[in-house]
């Protein structure tokens, strides 16, 4: 799986561009983060990739095939867990694959067990904590058959402690499965800790102003968060994000 965003521009009113000549790519099995300030058009970028919106200019290529305005090619994890309250956790994590027309109950069960949600298979979403709900939402997107996973600030609604735990959890899970991930966030720490590569977006209109390769080896460890190299990288990204 290889995603390429090529010269993509988009505007809501036909005058002021939200995205301007955006260029980036995600390689097979790579974790790529789009880092940008709030309101920089990150969500719009996802809507374009998901096919809800169509770019005014440029191409969105998945394995070389143009998917401008085509839905159903990505597996999506939104900011809110968006679990269906009338479905049990097991039925919920199967939803993504169900919409694509294939269900694998056994795999779902084993993944839930691995995510520490084995006992909650039959529970309803309101019985879960915020972190557990997001874990279920992540399992749901892993179970969806599409090769590219798009995660839209999935931890921004969680408290700090839970967020750090979730990041570690996500890392260990992802390092085992190695799906291609396009991750959006406005947290610099989160971006460095999780990604292979980071693209920094400018705001209004959004375009890529910096590309950074994260040099830390995998599996990632928490103590890397305090190393000099980490601080150095953080400083670099912070400077790039700062409005001129």
């Amino acid at each position: 799986m290889h995603l390429e965003i090529k010269d993509v521009s988009y505007s809501f009113d036909g005058k002021r561009n939200i995205l301007e000549k955006l260029n980036f790519h995600v390689n097979e099995g790579e974790f790529v983060t789009i880092l940008g300030p709030s309101g920089s058009g990150k969500s719009t970028l996802f809507h374009l990739t998901g096919g809800i919106l169509k770019p005014d200019h440029g191409d969105i290529l998945l394995d070389g095939k143009n998917i401008n305005g085509l839905k159903g090619h990505i597996s999506y994890m939104p900011q809110q867990p968006s679990l269906l309250p009338w479905r049990t956790v097991l039925e919920n994590v199967l939803l993504g694959s169900e919409l694509a027309g294939m269900k694998d109950k056994e795999r779902a069960k084993s993944l839930l067990k691995k995510a520490g949600l084995g006992e909650y298979e039959r529970a309803y979403p309101h019985e879960l904590s915020g972190g557990m709900k997001q874990r279920a939402a992540f399992i749901r997107s892993i179970l969806s058959p599409q090769d590219l996973m798009c995660l839209d600030e999935p931890f921004s609604a969680l408290d700090e402690m839970t967020r750090v735990q979730m990041q570690k959890w996500l890392m260990s899970f992802w390092e085992e499965y190695r799906r291609s991930v396009l991750f959006v966030t406005h947290s610099i720490d989160e971006a460095i800790f999780l990604s292979d590569r980071i693209y920094v977006l400018s705001s209004k209109p959004a375009s890529v102003i910096k590309e950074v390769v994260v040099p830390f080896p995998r599996p990632r460890r928490e103590d890397q968060l305090l190393s000099d190299e980490f601080i150095h990288l953080k400083r670099k990204l912070y400077a790039a994000l700062k409005p001129n």
């Binding site: 597996s75 939104p78 968006s82 269906l84 309250p85 009338w86 919409l99 694509a100 309803y124 309101h126």
Partner: protein
């Protein structure tokens, strides 16, 4: 605590007993004539005495109300689904739906008899007309109020209009649909009685008209109590069904109520 629990559950019952006692006392104190306002005890014994006669009437009313309710609710659901899926049609049709509820049934009913005769058809039309509306309005609201974040997830995952409806909007609106069904269930009994006034061989409505024209006020009251009981029973059955089908909602509400 236990005493309070009993009070909370039994309060309507105690109040009813109190009202009936006051009624009974009033008829004795002021010596009210039986044909003007019979005492509850008189009504009760009249009811017991004519149980044999009443049973047939009761059954045909139940049958009528139930079939009218089913037809009306189905029509209500279909209308809600159609209007939801075709928003353009909704703008045109919705005002007409409201107007349909402004037709005085008492006036419409005899006309229906002239058009369709004394059979089941005009009666079912009357009940359906009363029953479809609450279901249609409540379902439409439920469908419309589907949270945007869930719709957004479905769309991003490439769900089509059909999947969106069957897997998201319809299940989400089931609690609302039940609110509509509960109202319709109670209306259906009144609808059935009114439609029986038009001319039927049996039914509580027939029993009521006969009693009323014979100045048997006690029997009129028997009929009234039967209608109330039936409405309560219908309501109860729907509530029970709701409890089974939307247990997730009840648990969620309890959790919110407990401040979590």
């Amino acid at each position: 605590m236990i005493g309070r629990g009993i009070w909370k559950k039994g309060a309507p019952f105690f109040l009813l007993i109190l009202l009936l006692a006051a009624w009974e006392a009033a008829t004795v104190i002021w010596n009210i004539e039986k044909w003007l306002l019979p005492a509850p005890s008189v009504i009760f014994f009249e009811g017991i005495e004519s149980v044999h006669n009443l049973l047939g009437h009761l059954l045909s009313t139940v049958e009528l109300a139930l079939s009218g309710f089913l037809i009306g609710s189905c029509i209500g659901l279909l209308i809600a689904a159609a209007l939801h899926l075709f928003p353009g049609v909704k703008d045109a049709v919705y005002p007409l739906l409201i107007l349909s509820q402004n037709i005085p049934i008492i006036v419409l009913a005899p006309l229906l008899v002239i058009w369709f005769g004394f059979g089941m058809l005009p009666k079912l039309i009357v009940i359906s007309l009363v029953c479809f509306f609450p279901v249609a309005v409540a379902s439409l609201d439920g469908l419309r109020q589907t949270p945007d974040e869930l719709k957004h997830y479905f769309k991003m995952m490439g769900a089509g209009k059909r999947q969106l409806f069957w897997k998201l909007e319809l299940p989400h609106s089931i609690p609302s649909i039940f609110s509509g069904l509960k109202i319709s269930a109670t209306y259906s009994v009144m609808g059935a009685v009114i439609s029986e006034w038009l001319g039927a061989k049996s039914g509580i409505g027939v029993y009521m008209t006969l009693a009323s024209s014979a100045f048997r006020t006690d029997r009129v009251f028997v009929a009234i109590f039967i209608i109330m009981g039936m409405s309560l029973l219908f309501f109860g059955v729907i509530s029970l069904l709701e409890k089974h089908l939307v247990s997730w909602k009840r648990k969620e509400d309890e959790k919110h109520a407990s401040g979590n």
